[in-house]
């Protein structure tokens, strides 16, 4: 069992080992939906929510798989649970808050193939976190993901107004920005250890 306390776990997942900028998880939405700050933040919120729900489920599955001694089923059961969690969350939000559903709408199905979610579930079991630790880890990872998306979207909004060379436009510019952000986040190394 891992005995890390909750504060460092949160900081570690959020800043030091930011899922997007240090682990390269969830690059697709990072490049895809960072055109506007608003949609980036909403996407981050949706991912954080699914991550937290899924983290709870993953704890249960891990306990069950250890009980029946079948570790080779881990990957298959995790991915099945993620797909169904996303489905359930989608139906739940549609019923409870149609307004929220409309704003999240297109992002929800995309979350199934977001590797940050599966990555979070795998990391928390690899590190042997308890239930509370897992939940805090998931929330930290989600917060870090949202932060990275919001920063990127803000930078891209600014850059739209400035003059850039023709060859740099598009994906190449986004990549350079991501590299610079990643260097900035390396400055957090050492916090929370």
């Amino acid at each position: 069992m891992n005995t890390d306390s909750l504060g460092p776990i949160f900081l570690n997942a959020c800043l030091v080992n930011n899922f997007v900028l240090a682990y390269f998880l969830g690059i697709c939405p990072f490049l895809g939906v960072t055109g506007r700050v608003g949609s980036a933040v909403r996407m981050g919120g949706a991912v954080t929510f699914v991550m937290a729900v899924n983290s709870i489920c993953a704890c249960g599955i891990q306990a069950l798989l250890t009980f029946i001694d079948a570790p080779y089923l881990k990957l298959i059961s995790f991915i099945a649970v993620i797909a169904s969690t996303v489905q359930v969350v989608e139906m739940f939000i549609r019923r409870v808050s149609p307004a929220l559903f409309r704003t999240l709408g297109i992002f929800l199905p995309l979350i199934t193939t977001n590797c940050a979610i599966l990555g979070e579930a795998l990391f928390q079991t690899n590190k042997g976190y308890s239930f509370t630790q897992s939940l805090v880890y998931a929330l930290g990872a989600g917060a870090g993901f949202t932060l990275a998306l919001a920063l990127m979207a803000g930078l891209r909004e600014k850059l739209e107004l400035s003059r850039t060379p023709e060859a740099v436009k598009g994906a190449a510019l986004t990549m350079i920005l991501a590299g610079l952000l990643s260097i900035c986040f390396m400055g957090f190394a050492g916090i929370g250890n």
């Binding site: 390269f24 969830g26 697709c28 298959i76 797909a83 590797c115 795998l122 598009g170 590299g179 990643s182």
Partner: protein, 216 residues
């Protein structure tokens, strides 16, 4: 997808994945492993081969089962098929080299959510025969391996002054440490994309110049 009509020759089916529709540089699919495990050329090669193997096997299985899979449940079925092969690869790599397994870490498991594999299953294997799907997977897999090697090679040469662990640039070379760290992945990919953009621009410039000359 107009290029994927059954009229294309087998050779084109294979070559399109390597060049015209390269999964990484042109379609920007499966970016997470591309950036995460390309800090050395060796890791990049292992990751590329593992992904190509899963891609090939899942394409073959999906296309041979394509008439039995109900349309509504197809995505879930595809993911289950992919997850099965990823588990096999994960255990295979553990058996071959524990060191490699540690270097690649969770990213082997994360092949499951590589959008390249699901994308090919959905866009190609579920509509085409087994032979054609296997060719498509081989081409896409080769394109993926080449792209990973391009990135891994650049990062290892600049970040450690070596290639596949062999010292290349001599003792006086000061390694660019940043290239083996996470930011280097973004910078290396940005560099390649810039190169391609620049080439496309030069070519477009030539064509307009010719078009302007022709009438006069």
């Amino acid at each position: 997808m107009s290029q994927e009509q059954p009229t294309t020759s087998a050779q084109d089916e294979f070559l399109k994945g390597i060049w015209k529709q390269n999964p990484v540089f042109v379609q920007a699919l499966g970016m997470c492993p591309v950036l995460a495990v390309t800090n050395t050329a060796g890791n990049a090669l292992a990751m590329g081969l593992a992904t190509a193997f899963v891609l090939l096997m899942s394409n073959i299985v999906v296309s041979s089962l394509r008439s039995f899979i109900p349309r509504q449940a197809r995505i879930v079925t595809f993911i289950m098929i992919i997850a099965t092969f990823v588990t096999i690869v994960d255990y295979l790599i553990q058996a071959i080299s524990l060191e490699l397994q540690r270097a690649l870490g969770a990213f082997i498991s994360l092949i499951v959510v590589n959008c390249l594999i699901l994308g090919r299953a959905e866009a190609f294997a579920s509509k085409n025969g087994v032979g054609r799907s296997a060719l498509d997977a081989l081409g896409m897999g080769a394109g993926f391996v080449i792209a990973l090697l391009c990135l891994g090679g650049v990062r290892e040469i600049l970040g450690a002054g070596s290639l596949f662990g062999m010292a290349l640039l001599g003792d006086r070379f000061q390694p660019w440490l940043v290239m083996s760290l996470p930011p280097g992945g973004f910078f290396a990919l940005a560099g390649w994309l810039l190169l391609f953009n620049w080439r496309a621009q030069v070519r477009a410039g030539k064509e307009t110049a010719q078009a302007q000359e022709a009438p006069s």
